[in-house]
Symmetry: C2
Subunit: 198 residues, 2 copies
């Protein structure tokens, strides 16, 4: 890993942060989300682990920062679930389609990488299983909460695939709010209707 | 294109078929589904276009054969829509998850290629738009038939993505019939419920 430390001034926070992010990205790619540790990432960046926590918070926050996620994952999940229950599906669909499913977005790059590189797939798999599904499932008071969320996520990723990666005209050329309106009832059903899974 | 014609015996149907399939695959990849022609493929394989039709049928049949699809697309769509209307979603979900979403299946390879190669994306996009959506939409007597099918397809591709490409444990380790039962009501709704799109 050539991080070009030659020009590094000790104590410059921006330089330190960049070194931590580079070390984090390399570590997550090499060993996945589960086995990566703040301690090892700090060691690779030659800083104290406490400083990594101070700058970036938890391991999942560091993962998000290292991959340029445009949002804080916990805050996002909380804000989506905190609004009116009847519009949960709409809020979730709108977030996915306006923040995640945007050409060139970092999550889209991660999805693309995961289809061809097993290391990227593992990293994404572990992050989805251990962060997204775990955190959101605690907010759903129905049986099969994780499966419901996985079905929602798979539908949304499939829409992103059709709209942004393959470019099926019927979806790609559609106004995003029209698409939000079309999928929202299905998302709502998966998350709130006890009979949705048959 | 080295198709190794050295050992070709004129008139050997199996050798001729292989030459046509190789020429078809190369042509579809090079110019997409729309612009590929039986005439050009026949010329590349040094056979008469009538023989290509005789062996493989229509352009869409040739596309399916060249990509090792395990089914005839028209017959498949007809058979799925011909059964009892109340179980349409279940039949469609079962087909997807037992034939398409199988590790190493040719359609799965095409999906994977489409995320990273624009030529593969175009080929898949044109095949989905001009064959799958066109043919199936004529069997759905509701407004937004193509969009409904595109939403069904995107959900199914997303499930394949989560289950087979990323391997989210909540879906990957699930019995396939349980997964069919979980998504069938959603598919059914998209294809038959006038209010499904909100």
């Amino acid at each position: 890993m050539s991080r070009g430390r030659k020009g590094r001034r000790p104590g410059d926070p921006e330089v330190t942060k960049r070194a931590v992010l580079a070390a984090a990205k390399a570590n997550f790619a090499a060993v996945g989300f589960d086995r990566a540790t703040i301690r090892a990432i700090a060691a690779d960046a030659a800083v104290d682990p406490a400083l990594v926590h101070h700058y970036f918070g938890s391991k999942q926050d560091l993962f998000a920062a290292a991959h340029d996620f445009p949002v804080n994952v916990d805050e996002l999940i909380d804000s989506i679930f905190a609004g009116p229950a009847a519009e949960l599906g709409e809020r979730l669909a709108r977030f996915y389609l306006t923040v995640l499913a945007v050409p060139g977005s970092p999550p889209l790059s991660l999805i693309r990488a995961a289809t061809t590189h097993e290391s990227a797939a593992r990293m994404l798999r572990e992050f989805i299983e251990d962060v997204l599904l775990d955190n959101a499932a605690s907010l759903i008071d129905l049986p099969d909460a994780r499966l419901r969320l996985a079905l929602v996520g798979s539908h949304m990723i499939g829409v992103v695939f059709a709209r942004n990666l393959v470019g099926i005209a019927d979806m790609a050329e559609m106004d995003v709010e029209r698409l939000v309106a079309a999928v929202a009832p299905t998302i709502q059903r998966y998350l709130t209707d006890p009979t949705a899974l048959g």
